[in-house]
């Protein structure tokens, strides 16, 4: 961030105190929660299945990424955002976590090039990496400062996803054993095809079930899963997915302790879903508290996040 601030000052842009990260100020995904019917892969309809056997550790490594976006200055109404991202794979050996290879880190000044003076962007580009928030966007920015900030945030998010995807690809090529990825794997061509990659999704803005099947999903008890379904998306790779209840919700929200698992849709899916579910259930301990998402977060991902927080460029 210091390099970006120096570059802005050198370019004659007044830099104020950095405010709160955009991640805390802007809602990225403001689409309405929705329900999306899917195609069953196990049987002919969505069903509930108790995960057989005893939860047992099988995950070898954990992948996560973090990001931070901060508005450093404004040129007119245009926010100039410093984006920093990091991603890492943490490998477990003898119950202790270590970084696999090198963590990936990247930082850039995120701005709408078209909305700024060319000389300014040229000057900044000579000093720090720039990411254009308008590149590849179908619609030009509205000029609303919040819209510009939201676009910057999306760009930083993409930076993070790019680093995560690169690591998934690297693990598929060189890694050894199952990798648990925080989030879905359908964005990764390599991950969506590899048996060694497992995605665990913690948020459920879209619930993949027919409305009539929702009580079945939301009524899962601890240690139960739904049967697997196929997820297709025009811009994503097909994966098999199922819901798994990690913790008994009791009187809490029906989404408490509920995760969705994604794997490559290959082989004996029932056996694989049961095995992967046992692995994920085994990761409930140690509990990921004090993270507020502790009910759905496995400790390996929390540990990875803590690691990334420590190394994230500032």
């Amino acid at each position: 961030m210091r390099a970006a601030i120096r570059a802005l000052r050198a370019a004659g842009v007044g830099v104020g105190a950095a405010g709160a990260p955009l991640e805390l100020r802007t809602t990225v995904d403001d689409a309405a929660p929705r329900v999306e019917p899917v195609t069953p892969l196990e049987g002919d309809r969505l069903a509930v299945r108790a995960v057989p056997g005893v939860p047992a550790p099988g995950i070898r490594a954990f992948l996560d990424g973090i990001q931070r976006s901060q508005v450093l200055a404004h040129v007119g109404a245009v926010p100039l955002v410093h984006g920093a991202v990091a991603a890492a794979v943490r490998v477990r050996k003898a119950r202790r976590m270590r970084t696999w290879g090198e963590a990936r880190r990247r930082e850039a000044l995120v701005l709408p090039v078209a909305a700024l003076d060319a000389a300014l962007t040229a000057t900044l580009a000579g000093a720090v990496p720039l990411v254009d928030t308008t590149a590849g966007e179908p619609a030009p920015p509205s000029g609303h400062p919040q819209d510009l900030a939201a676009r910057a945030l999306t760009a930083v998010q993409r930076m993070r996803e790019a680093e995560e995807l690169a690591l998934v690809a690297a693990w598929v090529a060189d890694g050894d054993g199952p990798l648990l990825v925080d989030g879905g794997i359908s964005g990764s061509p390599e991950g969506a095809r590899a048996e060694s990659v497992i995605g665990v999704v913690k948020s459920h803005r879209t619930l993949y079930a027919a409305p009539s099947e929702l009580p079945l999903v939301l009524g899962l008890r601890e240690g139960e899963r739904t049967t697997a379904v196929a997820l297709h998306s025009p811009r994503r790779n097909p994966v098999a997915s199922w819901y798994l209840r990690l913790r008994d919700p009791g009187e809490r929200s029906p989404l408490f302790g509920l995760v969705r698992v994604e794997v490559a849709p290959t082989g004996d899916l029932t056996a694989r879903a049961d095995a992967v579910s046992r692995w994920v259930l085994a990761e409930r301990a140690p509990v990921a508290l004090p993270d507020p998402r502790w009910d759905v977060m496995v400790y390996g991902i929390r540990e990875c996040e803590e690691y990334l927080t420590a190394i994230l460029p500032r």
């Binding site: 550790p57 995950i59 477990r92 119950r95 202790r96 976590m97 085994a282 990761e283 409930r284 301990a285 140690p286 509990v287 508290l289 004090p290 400790y299 390996g300 929390r302 540990e303 803590e306």
Partner: protein
């Protein structure tokens, strides 16, 4: 060779580094603990110099990313065993706090920089403790006190002789709980180290050790029975021969009955090496105030005692009230003098004599007459004197004075007189050595922090504050440092701590120690000490070898004290020191002619022992036939009166 990286310095706003303290973390299995000396290497030069900081670990912390223990309970569903089976161990940290021992360069004194932390090498330990200024070179004067051991580093830790024995600082205070043999052992070890390492140019040195309990110091001339290879290795590493003290002289008063010496070193094989310690009127009267309580002796009585000391004792005294001249040289003489004086006053119905009221005279007679009874065995009625060889002290010799069996009053008298004599002789540079270490155990008894201001305490304070200029060095041992007068403790340049009592560690004197250091002090093993020394920025933990001498307990097992002898046996035993051919039968024959005056027999024995005649039995027999006159070893003149303790006798 640079030591591998042990840890990294860390600082946060909440826990910042200062010029005196810093924090670092290490791997979980790093060989570091409280007391470990570390070196910090910075990569950021200051004034063109890369700073190097030495520190000693004073505190350790370990924690995980767990915010509250309740989270672990939740995670394990309340089953303690479940945590252990979790596939991942929580992220855990070992965070240490270290106190700065030294910064190089010393200026500018800045907060400890970020950098790598390394285990100190032997050279680092020398530099960290500033030993490099006095252990090497032409002015080398280091006295090994023990070995620093941590993380595979073994390094000798030296004290600076100028700060242990003077003149820069002096004195040593050693504290620790009883029963672990730490205090006495440490002093014995340190004396051996001083005797070995004190450079000749620093002059001759001797030690006077008061044995105040049991057989503690009664066998320090005998080799240890068990000295394991680790101890021998320590002796080798610290350059001190693993031998008992070569020159030891033992002194003990007679038992009250007078037949044998009041010591546990009475085994036939060793008894000859103990010299009787007996004093007469002159030696005792000089320190009468030790034995007379202030409440008992008022100004009037004090004046009479002064009169007796200055005008009556050891000189011809005449008065019109008395029949003829008196020469008062013993308590018996003094009693005769009092008796005649009082009889004369009563006969003449006289209430005053030379401004002294008859009641005062009676009182002083009573109190002084009591002394020889209270200190029987040490103080003789007849004035026989057998004393330490003041003026002929030998280099590297230990003089053990066994007062363990004496009453408290008599112990006080022994301390007062011997230490005063040492001081007076050192003032005149006429002791025979330039420096004397005086070892007093149970210092809290003799220089307590509270209670009456006794003569002995004043004397110990005087030594503590001014002795270093004279070469009179106090090594004091006590269980509770907090119970020793703060001026005595405060003037001890070097302080050693063995295992400490937890209650003692809670007293204000230990507030400067970190909780972890206190915890370590409370659990120190035998043979471990924490050392404070003026050159050391912080207390250092060291290990010292078991003394190469026979312990008191083993000594009495190996050399059990002799049975209490009959009078004939006692005399025969004593005379055999001078003539081994003397038999009990011969002594019985002589005693048969002498009658049953036991005191006269013992007086004759004492005089014979002091005179060391060629024909021992004949001399002894002759002594029995006449009244034994008071004798003085060496025929010294009267000792000077004591200078008031409040004065500055040493010119600052």
């Amino acid at each position: 060779m640079t030591a591998p990286v042990l840890g990294r310095v860390v600082a946060t706003e909440r826990r910042p580094n200062t010029p005196h303290e810093f924090h670092f973390w290490t791997a979980l299995d790093a060989p570091v603990g409280v007391g470990t000396i570390v070196r910090v290497e910075s990569t950021r030069p200051v004034n063109g110099v890369l700073p190097c900081v030495y520190g000693v670990v004073t505190e350790g912390f370990g924690y995980t990313d767990l915010q509250t223990p309740l989270h672990d309970v939740l995670g394990a569903d309340g089953e303690p065993g479940a945590s252990a089976t979790a596939p991942t161990e929580r992220t855990e940290i070992r965070l240490y706090t270290a106190a700065v021992l030294r910064q190089v360069p010393e200026e500018p004194l800045q907060p400890v920089p970020m950098g790598t932390v390394h285990l100190a090498t032997e050279a680092d330990v020398q530099a960290a403790l500033r030993m490099d200024t006095y252990v090497q070179g032409s002015d080398a004067r280091g006295i090994p006190v023990g070995a620093y051991r941590s993380g595979g580093t073994d390094a000798a830790v030296h004290l600076d002789a100028d700060f242990l024995l003077g003149p820069e600082a002096a004195h040593l205070a050693i504290s620790g709980v009883s029963g672990l043999a730490t205090k006495t052992s440490a002093v014995q070890w340190l004396l051996a180290s001083i005797f070995t390492h004190l450079p000749a140019r620093k002059g001759k040195v001797a030690a006077v050790c008061f044995n105040v309990k049991g057989p503690d110091l009664c066998f320090i001339d005998r080799p240890a029975t068990r000295l394991d290879p680790a101890d021998r290795a320590l002796y080798d590493a610290l350059g001190v021969p693993a031998d008992p003290f070569a020159r030891v002289r033992y002194f003990a008063p007679w038992h009250a009955r007078g037949t044998h010496l009041a010591t546990l070193r009475t085994h036939d094989a060793l008894a000859e090496s103990v010299t009787p310690l007996t004093w007469g009127l002159r030696e005792t009267l000089q320190y009468a105030e030790v034995l007379l309580s202030r409440e008992d002796i008022d100004a009037k009585a004090d004046a009479l005692i002064d009169f007796i000391k200055e005008r009556v004792v050891d000189q011809r005294f005449e008065d019109k009230l008395l029949d003829g001249a008196h020469e008062v040289r013993s308590f018996a003489d003094l009693e005769r003098w009092f008796r005649e004086l009082l009889q004369a006053m009563e006969a003449g119905n006289q209430e005053q004599w030379r401004t002294h009221h008859i009641a005062t005279i009676r009182k002083v007679r009573n109190r002084l007459g009591n002394i020889s009874t209270r200190c029987k065995g040490l103080v003789t009625d007849d004035g026989t004197v057998s004393d330490l060889p003041f003026g002929a002290f030998e280099d590297r010799a230990v003089y053990v004075v066994d007062v363990a069996q004496l009453e408290e009053d008599a112990q006080d008298l022994v301390f007062a007189r011997i230490i005063s004599q040492l001081r007076e002789h050192l003032e005149k540079r006429a002791l025979g050595v330039e420096q004397v270490v005086v070892f007093v155990d149970e210092l809290n008894k003799y220089a307590p922090s509270d209670g009456a201001d006794t003569y002995v305490r004043q004397m110990l304070l005087d030594i503590a504050e001014r002795g270093r200029y004279l070469g009179l060095v106090l090594f004091g041992a006590q269980q509770f440092r907090s119970q020793v007068h703060r001026r005595v403790v405060g003037n001890s340049g070097t302080q050693l701590f063995g295992r400490m009592d937890a209650d003692e560690l809670a007293t204000p004197g230990y507030q400067t120690l970190a909780p972890a250091t206190k915890a370590r002090l409370a659990t120190l093993e035998k043979g471990q000490l924490m050392v404070r020394h003026p050159h050391f920025g912080q207390p250092i933990f060291v290990r010292f070898p078991r003394p190469a001498v026979l312990t008191g307990r083993e000594g009495v097992e190996q050399f059990p004290p002799a049975e209490v002898p009959t009078l004939e046996m006692a005399v025969a035993k004593t005379l055999r020191r001078l003539d081994p051919s003397i038999t009990v039968g011969q002594v019985q024959d002589v005693l048969a002619l002498a009658g049953d005056d036991e005191e006269a027999i013992l007086r004759a024995r004492n005089v014979t022992l002091l005179k060391r005649p060629d024909n021992v039995l004949a001399f002894f027999s002759k002594q029995l036939k006449k009244r034994v006159a008071p004798e003085v070893v060496g025929g010294r003149g009267p000792a000077p009166l004591r200078v008031p303790a409040s004065g500055d006798d040493y010119g600052g």
